[in-house]
Symmetry: C2
Subunit: 126 residues, 2 copies
DNA sequence: AACGGAAGTTCCCTCGGGGGAACCGCACCT
DNA sequence: AGGTGCGGTTCCCCCGAGGGAACTTCCGTT
């Protein structure tokens, strides 16, 4: 897993719970993670309710969980102000922003090739 | 980055069930998908039981489901021979192989930055 | 005639991610 | 003294991915 090149490590290493790929794919595979990251990447900084509005039908509980997880991973920063009404601002950390590049690569692939994937799915079902 | 490169589409578009990012992240986020792709990328071609052995503790049922899903997406090819004992070979399609590049980018990011993520997690719990 | 291996299939169960709905503390406003 | 907006929390439930374990079919081997 510590080999220099991309897909060269032994696949079974990925079974370890702290395998880098498991950690990252596990996180970004969660239901709302991508929405939050993409929303923050566009807006820069958002408050809780702004995030709710942008992300869609997420419930406050789940949004809180998602944000706490990303904060725990050091990908999102949470700044609370002692104002009234309370104000909390979320933004990507530098680490979080550095993740945008590889995510973008996957996104680009998706944009280009998902039509093929969807066509293949339909063929498989038809 | 809201810069004109990677992450430019509206985030809420991602809510649509056929949004490219949802399709792809949904698939590679599944439990065994990455193991199968990585194993095939290393070996080129593998039979069912070889795959079982490499991927680890996966049960035959779940491995079958995973392979059928990837086959349905056009990412994996399944070739069955009328031999006896039966022989079935799995390999990546060209489409599946083209996915290795963006996955590799994410993998590289993971290799480089997961120590930070894990350190952050430990801080968050301690 | 029994055995074994390949490639699954079938049935049943468990576990937890995710969702719904309601509640909470605070400080203003009026 | 009641209402409002913010940023959550609490409790409860449901569904489906994933797992366990046994069974199956087809043939060749011993």
């Amino acid at each position: 897993m510590s080999e220099p090149n991309a897909i060269t490590a032994e696949p079974w290493s990925v079974l370890a719970p702290d395998c880098p790929s498991r950690v990252i794919f596990g996180r970004i595979g969660e239901r709302w993670t991508m929405f939050v990251i993409l929303a923050l990447s566009r807006a820069g900084t958002l408050r809780f309710t702004e995030l709710r509005a942008r992300v869609g039908e997420v419930t406050p509980k789940v949004l809180t969980e998602t944000l706490r997880a990303l904060e725990g991973d050091g990908l999102v920063e949470r700044r609370a102000f002692a104002d009234s009404p309370p104000r909390v601002e979320y933004s990507l950390t530098p680490l979080g922003e550095s993740l945008l590049e590889p995510i973008g690569a996957l996104r680009d692939w998706a944009e280009r090739h998902v039509p093929e994937v969807l066509a293949s799915r339909e063929r498989a079902l038809g």
